[in-house]
């Protein structure tokens, strides 16, 4: 008898929510088709008038002019493009009754012998123009006015509804245990990033390089990956080639499907007798991603799903580590929660990236550290110290500059140790480990053997930049100070979710939502930093000496972030430091929070209400970001 409500709660209601998601997709995704007369539905060809023109400079162009008699949902343009290896860029315009011709999309024909591209129109227009900047022939157009459901879009609606329901159903538990709220939001909205984003690259920051490393690690090989990587890059190439042109090559579900067919046809032939890879410091960040790729591969899944499985590997590692970081925290739980579920942190967790390893293990190490720091009379246990130090080391392996965080355990008070000898041993060895981590980055730079200058930026040279700094110390100091003071606030403000390569995708919802969500997340972060109060009374406040230590480490961390970009990503002699992004500050936010969070500033809100407010605001922010980005960019 008692089990019946549970079945309703956990089975019946989610099924109803799934049906509701299907209904939403039916209405939102097919709005113009629902009341369309029967004769206008279906798939049919439409005749287009070809207007060939040549301008004064001899440049040829072709405009395909359509005069549809009614509503058009989607149109697919087909044309032979044998012998071509480039994406053909074209613009789409429409004229609605009694209106001017307006631009509505930047589109791309892929380089196949029988090339097809689908355009989402969703309007009743008098005239539609597709303008190609070259002479084209034999183009045919097919209109698709069929109602169709989109499984990825349904998943987005479903996770939003499910997240809302779970937060409501578990509100009492979340009120007491914030980590459960983290699991709910991460495993619904967060998981969506890993699952529904296209199995392509140029979605997240440098994900082509990260994916290449994961493939290499998964095969323990770095020789024969090129073909598959080329195929995966395929769709993304148009994005970088035409960045800023308000569009990309797979903005409709039909374009995605064609891309996946190409991707899944790619056969990988790996020569077993060539195990290779010398290994690298940063490999540790790719282990779970490589495991995901590998496990999907041995299960015989197509390449499209292998790519998703690799992202899932990253996401699961991130979620698990952050869950324990929040669970183990004796203080700053809400701060850890907001950092872990920040838009950019969650987005990279579902992508190919080294950042999730850095962020998650930083939070885990910091969570234990702060709990130990604020309980000065409680002896430091070996097991907790091991997890803390291992977390900081793992956090610093992909990005050695965060080795600076190993300086935090040096601030632990004498009361944590049973003897001064014990304390001395702990601190000396920890300091040694910190120096060894930083040496992996600093030594090659100082010895002039660093190969870390970025090949994408012309004029970069680590040794050249060091020579410049030594010969112009005042100028270099000025460049650093100017960069840090002028840009840090902007970097913090812009720690939001964005597609680095697709952010010009030209949809109005995304453009409108992004700044608002940006501000909302930043305000939420500031809110928890200033108001998250201790949950138990057994903790002291951080003292002045420790505060100074944390401040010194924070400033060193910021300086190292800028120094790394100055040396490796900025052309020698440049008076501006390039490449610093808001996400590099994420591992340093807990340090800033310690300095800014004061007991007497806490608000009077009841803890359970406080937790639910934080979780609710964060979930809303994350869901709006997910829908505006994914649906507007990819699944029209």
């Amino acid at each position: 008898m008692k089990k019946r409500p549970d079945i309703v709660k956990w089975v019946v209601i989610p099924i109803i929510l799934l049906l509701l998601a299907v209904l939403i997709d039916l209405v939102v995704g097919n709005a113009g088709l629902l009341f369309l007369p029967k004769e206008e539905r279906g798939v049919f060809s439409i005749q287009a008038e070809e207007r060939h023109e040549t301008d004064a400079g001899g440049r040829e162009s072709t405009t395909l002019v359509l005069n549809p008699k009614g509503y058009i949902h989607k149109a697919t343009i087909s044309m032979p493009r044998a012998g071509r290896s480039d994406f053909l860029q074209y613009k789409a315009y429409m004229r609605k009754p009694d209106m001017k011709l307006i631009f509505f999309g930047q589109e791309f024909m892929p380089p196949f012998s029988e090339s097809k591209d689908t355009v989402s129109i969703r309007a009743t227009a008098e005239e539609i123009h597709f303008v190609f900047e070259e002479d084209i022939e034999q183009a045919s157009i097919t209109v698709n006015n069929n109602i169709a459901l989109n499984k990825r879009r349904i998943m987005v609606w479903f996770v939003g509804l499910l997240c809302g329901w779970l937060l409501f159903a578990l509100r009492k538990t979340i009120g007491k245990k914030l980590e459960i709220g983290f699991l709910v939001v991460a495993c619904t909205i967060g998981l969506s990033y890993a699952v529904v984003m296209p199995a392509a690259t140029y979605i997240s920051f440098d994900d082509t390089d990260h994916l290449a490393r994961c493939f290499e690690l998964g095969y323990n090989h770095d020789g024969s990956m090129e073909e598959v990587l080329q195929r995966i890059r395929f769709a993304g190439w148009s994005v970088t080639q035409y960045s800023g042109s308000n569009g990309h090559s797979f903005n409709t579900v039909e374009d995605n499907t064609r891309y996946y067919q190409l991707l899944n046809d790619t056969s990988l032939v790996i020569e077993d007798e060539k195990p290779t890879r010398a290994g690298a410091f940063y490999d540790i960040a790719y282990i779970t991603q490589a495991l995901g790729l590998w496990s999907a591969r041995i299960m015989g899944l197509p390449l499209q799903l292998q790519i998703v499985a690799g992202r899932l590997g990253n996401f699961l590692m991130y979620t698990l580590v952050c869950y324990f970081a929040i669970k183990m925290a004796k203080r700053y739980k809400a701060i850890f929660y907001v950092i872990a579920l920040g838009p950019i942190a969650l987005f990279t967790a579902g992508s190919y990236s080294a950042d999730p390893t850095v962020n998650a293990f930083c939070l885990l190490g910091f969570s234990i550290f702060i709990s130990e720091l604020l309980t000065p009379d409680k002896p430091l246990m070996r097991s907790r110290a091991m997890v803390m130090l291992a977390a900081f080391v793992i956090c610093a392996m992909p990005k050695a500059i965060y080795g600076i965080l190993l300086g935090l355990p040096l601030l632990l008070p004498a009361g944590k140790f049973e003897s001064s000898q014990q304390k001395r041993w702990f601190k000396i060895i920890t300091l040694t480990a910190m120096l060894l981590v930083i040496a992996s980055f600093a030594l090659p730079v100082l010895l002039g053997t660093s190969e870390h200058s970025d090949v994408r930026i012309e004029g970069t040279s680590v040794s050249g930049q060091i020579k410049f700094m030594l010969s112009h110390p005042i100028t270099a100091t000025g460049i650093f100070l100017k960069g840090i003071l002028q840009n840090s606030l902007e970097h913090l403000l812009y720690m939001q979710l964005w597609f680095p390569y697709l952010n010009a995708a030209g949809n109005t919802l995304y453009s409108a939502v992004r700044p608002a969500m940006n501000v909302m997340f930043f305000v939420l972060l500031l809110f928890v930093i200033f108001t998250d109060k201790p949950q138990s009374d057994g903790m002291v406040e951080i003292n002045k000496r420790q505060r100074r230590g944390v401040l010194a480490l924070l400033l060193s961390g910021i300086l190292l972030v800028w120094a790394s970009m100055y040396l490796s990503y900025t052309a020698v002699g440049s008076n501006v430091i390039y490449g610093v992004q808001g996400r590099y500050y994420i591992p340093l936010i807990p340090l800033a929070a310690v300095l800014l969070n004061m007991r007497n500033m806490s608000g009077g809100m009841e803890r359970s209400k406080y937790n639910l407010t934080v979780v609710g605001c964060n979930a809303v922010c994350m869901f709006i970001m997910l829908t505006s980005l994914s649906i507007c960019n990819f699944w029209l």
Partner: protein, 213 residues
């Protein structure tokens, strides 16, 4: 099971450090083969096209390790390459053939990288060799052309608008390198965990503290 838990409690810590140290050492002292591509500028020679029938050669000198394979990356459309044979040969400094193979034109298809392993033990020690590519029996209209070594073009050349595209040749070399970079993180981790050596293992004290507070 109980004894295993006891063992882990008693020796788990030191066993973990020893394990990490062994992994670190094993990686640091091991040398494993690494296959790298000869980058642009590492080989010398001139840009040589083949039109229809013809031969292009390139001298490769001073490479590290062993020449191990050849990658052909045609950016052109395969329809141009349905006939003919592409012969690949590696010659020593005296013109003796050390390795040779032939590829049918029809195997060179759209944007697909072809890998040809060099099955020869004679290609070690960084000797100077000549890579020779010969087009035979291609149709006059085929205009098969390729560049050797120092082409700027990416192997998968989307964006290029060449009716008769190039085939980019990349040479793969095998060198033996230390895996110290893989061992280093384990070493640092082992050292960091060593810091916890003298710390208390007693859980009781903490429980008492938790209760007191």
């Amino acid at each position: 099971m109980k004894s295993l838990v006891e063992w882990i409690k008693k020796y788990g810590y030191i066993a973990l450090i020893i394990l990490l140290a062994i992994i670190a050492l094993a990686n640091i002292i091991t040398r494993s083969p690494v296959y790298t591509l000869l980058e642009k500028g590492e080989s010398v020679g001139s840009v040589s096209p083949i039109l229809g029938n013809g031969t292009a050669t390139q001298i490769i000198e001073g490479y590290e390790g062993q020449l191990y394979g050849i990658y052909l990356s045609p950016a052109t459309h395969g329809a141009n390459l349905q006939t003919g044979v592409l012969q690949i040969a590696v010659l020593d400094i005296h013109g003796n053939e050390l390795f040779s193979t032939a590829i049918n034109g029809s195997d060179i298809v759209d944007n697909k990288e072809l890998y040809i392993p060099i099955e020869s033990t004679e290609l070690d020690n960084g000797q100077t060799v000549t890579l020779q590519l010969s087009g035979k029996d291609f149709d006059e209209e085929d205009k098969l052309s390729f560049w050797l070594g120092d082409s700027d073009l990416a192997p998968f050349s989307i964006g290029e608008e060449k009716a008769e595209g190039p085939i980019l040749i990349k040479l793969e070399q095998r060198v033996y390198q230390s895996r110290w970079q893989r061992g280093y993180p384990f070493m640092v981790l082992a050292i960091a965990l060593l810091a916890c050596w003298p710390l208390t293992k007693k859980h009781e004290e903490n429980v008492a503290y938790e209760k007191a507070t």
